[in-house]
């Protein structure tokens, strides 16, 4: 049985689209807007954006500055080859007895010569120039690794596990496989976190997930967001609203800025209709303020009296466009402000980096609907302790402060353990529910 398929967007890569680029098992993940003639760079791999246009999202092979779609089956074969030394060293676990296991497991026995330590360079017969030359000639990563193994003096003396590790490390370094994917909140969160956690207030993807769940963000909800996380929280809320409800985004200045995560999700108009940017100034004044502006579209008309007709028309068109955009902004802002003043907001999310959450609470908390969820994220625990005291004095129930560790595991047969080191910077999440007396 096949379920009804929901309406879907084009499955091919289009010019102007934001995309996530990462190497298979790579350390980095980049968000790039693919435009014609653009060079895409990822961990020393380079290709032109044009070579990806019209191809479906997924796995690519890079060679000669071009990328070509590649089947996953081939990749899986290659990955299995990396495990080959382990797989081929025959070991029948059924027959191993306790006595023999210490000495006879061929995978862990260390050859005596391996203990004679020599500098890494001496062990590798293949010169770096030769490697670079091979790369220039377009030798595949796979063949390059085979050559490196051949040239490695120490390879045969390694344990089988160590051989597999060696191959994996080299394969990763010389891999020319990239994933080009449509952005998702999960991928965006990871990419920005890896790039510069500080600008994201150390917000990890797992904590973002927790914030959304604690705030109960679903289709049709009204959510107020104040954040300093590059638009990540706002964008995640917009996605979960799915075109109904509202996400009031409280921002500084005249126009919401520094929110790349909202722009790079390629949202359609309907989804974006719930995005309601509201100026801090208006929240402070408790009413909608007119735009202060130097441009006066209608005064220009008079001045342009003597100018060529065509030019005047052009300016007028531009002004009309600016005016239309501004009116749309004002409309959305009005909706946002009404949602606050009419006490219709079901959730408040604060994700602050420098702003004290209490100064947001003072303005917004009294306007939340009763039973509203409040979720505050901060990289600083003491800031949340103060916010906790503030909320506890105002009849907020179910107050919980949590911290969490997200541990990544290396999973390989007989070699499974947590990673030796990983990104751990993060913050704390405070949540509660507003209630009223009477």
């Amino acid at each position: 049985m096949e379920a009804e398929t929901p309406p879907q967007t084009s499955s091919c890569i289009n010019s102007g689209e934001y995309l996530i680029v990462q190497k298979i098992d790579g350390e980095q993940s980049r968000i790039v807007r693919f435009t014609p003639k653009q060079k895409i760079l990822i961990e020393k791999l380079k290709f032109t954006a044009d070579s990806a246009f019209g191809k479906p999202h997924g796995l690519f092979e890079v060679s000669n500055n071009q990328c070509f779609p590649m089947s996953v089956d081939r990749l899986i074969e290659e990955l299995q080859l990396q495990e080959a030394p382990v797989a081929t060293s025959v070991i029948d676990t059924e027959v191993i007895t306790f006595e023999t296991v210490e000495v006879s497991d061929p995978r862990v026995v260390i050859a005596p010569s391996a203990l004679k330590l020599e500098p890494e360079q001496k062990r590798q017969k293949l010169e770096m120039d030769a490697v670079l030359e091979m790369k220039k000639q377009g030798v595949s990563g796979q063949d390059l690794v085979a050559k490196l193994v051949e040239g490695s003096a120490s390879f045969q003396t390694r344990t089988v596990f160590s051989q597999s590790k060696y191959i994996k490390r080299k394969a990763k370094k010389h891999s020319d496989r990239v994933l080009i994917l449509r952005p998702t909140i999960r991928l965006l969160a990871k990419a920005y976190y890896l790039k510069d956690p500080d600008r994201l207030a150390m917000l990890r993807a797992d904590q973002l997930a927790l914030i959304l769940q604690m705030a109960g963000v679903h289709h049709g909800k009204n959510v107020i967001v104040f954040e300093q996380t590059l638009g990540l929280i706002t964008s995640a809320v917009i996605e979960r609203l799915g075109g109904k409800g509202g996400c009031v985004h409280i921002h500084r200045g005249a126009v919401a800025q520094s929110i790349p995560c909202v722009h790079s999700m390629n949202y359609d108009e309907k989804t974006l209709s719930t995005f309601l940017p509201v100026r801090i100034k208006c929240i402070l004044a408790e009413k909608q303020l007119p735009y202060e502006t130097n441009r006066r579209p209608f005064d220009d008309e008079a001045e342009n009296g003597g100018v060529e007709h065509k030019a005047a028309e052009k300016i007028e068109d531009q002004d009309l466009e600016v005016l239309a955009r501004r009116n749309e902004r004002l409309d959305k802002e009005k909706r946002g402000l009404e949602m606050i003043s009419e006490q219709k907001a079901h959730s408040l999310i604060i994700g602050s980096r420098t702003v004290d959450p209490i100064s947001v609470l003072e303005l917004v908390y009294p306007k939340l609907a009763p039973s509203a969820s409040i979720v505050i994220y901060s990289p600083h625990q003491n800031i949340l302790v103060s916010a906790y005291d503030w909320l506890a004095k105002r009849q907020t129930i179910n107050l919980v402060l949590t911290d969490q560790m997200c541990r990544v595991m290396q999973v390989l047969p007989d070699r499974t353990h947590p990673l030796m080191a990983q990104h751990v910077a993060g913050g704390h999440v405070l949540s509660g529910i507003k209630v009223v007396d009477q």
């Binding site: 994933l179 999960r186 959304l212 039973s371 302790v385 560790m405 541990r407 007396d437």
Partner: protein, 307 residues
């Protein structure tokens, strides 16, 4: 036209038929369907349902022996208060699973097993109104119970509960899902079926929850041979904290009174009560004993098939 009660209707006031979460204390929350003539009995005595109808969500109400709060159900509150028939997934894991599945309104998600429906509710609320949840369990009593709950909670139109062993018979839908979640004892048996249920043109995500590393190892191998990429295993360890006020004791004070807890107010030289200002709020880990392991979450991507 009367609108059926639903977790996804955000009316200001409570109506008959609504599911409310009665908040008694931090540890005690009781979900109740409001019905005239019924009475809720709990720690703070009795509360007649008549008193709940027409009240605002989030309002404090007097019972015969104390106060309670009537809360609007959310995915998290449901998880914390639902009638448990099995071991359940808690909010930290549910949140992470939704994110790993890239779940959003419109997603088609397959889940096995249903259990007590904690994650099922979280998924249904996230994919509504245009997506769908297919939840599978081998136990008929579980699926029918959860189906009843979906009915009461206004989530029937976005959910289908099926009695089925996904490890032997696969999923209810094929070539349709955007995400598959597995919480089964032998996930490696279900993984090839999971790959089949995922949409070929859109590709999709797979998340498997297993308490033991041995299960994780076999699941990872099965995922790789079923064509999944970007396979990663993570573990979440949440830590709950409590805010306490802490007195900053000086050495002199300690010499004088020992480590006895100092009074919040003390008398000054004139005999007046003054606040002891040397107090700071601080967070401590509490309760002292907390869950440190629930399960490993292994997640992977199935890329769209090239034509």
């Amino acid at each position: 036209m009367t609108v059926e009660p639903s977790f996804m209707l955000y009316e200001e006031r409570i109506r008959e038929g609504d599911t409310v979460i009665v908040y008694v204390t931090y540890g005690q929350m009781v979900p109740t369907v409001v019905k005239r003539g019924q009475t809720l009995m709990m720690k703070y005595g009795a509360l007649r349902h008549e008193f709940i109808i027409g009240k605002k969500w989030g309002q404090r109400l007097s019972a015969t022996a104390g106060y309670v709060y009537i809360l609007r159900p959310t995915s998290d509150l449901w998880t914390r208060s639902l009638p448990r028939r099995t071991q359940i997934l808690y909010t930290a894991d549910c949140a992470q699973i939704l994110s790993l599945l890239d779940a959003k309104p419109g997603s088609v998600i397959c889940e096995s097993g249903t259990g007590s429906g904690s994650l099922s509710h979280a998924i249904a609320l996230t994919v509504a109104p245009s997506g769908h949840l297919y939840t599978h369990d081998i136990d008929e009593t579980r699926t029918s119970k959860v189906q009843e709950e979906f009915q009461t909670h206004g989530l029937s139109s976005v959910t289908t509960a099926v009695v089925r062993n996904v490890c032997t018979s696969g999923f209810h839908v094929e070539n349709s899902a955007d995400g598959v979640f597995l919480d089964v004892p032998a996930p490696w048996e279900a993984i090839p079926f999971a790959a089949k249920s995922i949409s070929r043109v859109r590709g999709g995500r797979l998340v498997s929850f297993s308490p033991c590393l041995e299960q994780v190892q076999r699941a990872c191998l099965a995922m790789a041979s079923a064509g999944f990429v970007s396979i990663e295993t993570i573990e979440l360890v949440p830590e709950q904290k409590k805010i306490v006020t802490q007195h900053r004791q000086s050495l002199e004070e300690f010499e004088e009174i020992g480590d006895a807890y100092p009074k919040e107010r003390k008398r000054n030289a004139d005999g007046e009560l003054v606040e002891n200002t040397e107090r700071v709020s601080t967070a401590i880990v509490y309760p002292y004993s907390q869950p440190t392991h629930t399960g490993y979450l292994t997640h992977a991507t199935l890329l769209p098939v090239l034509e």
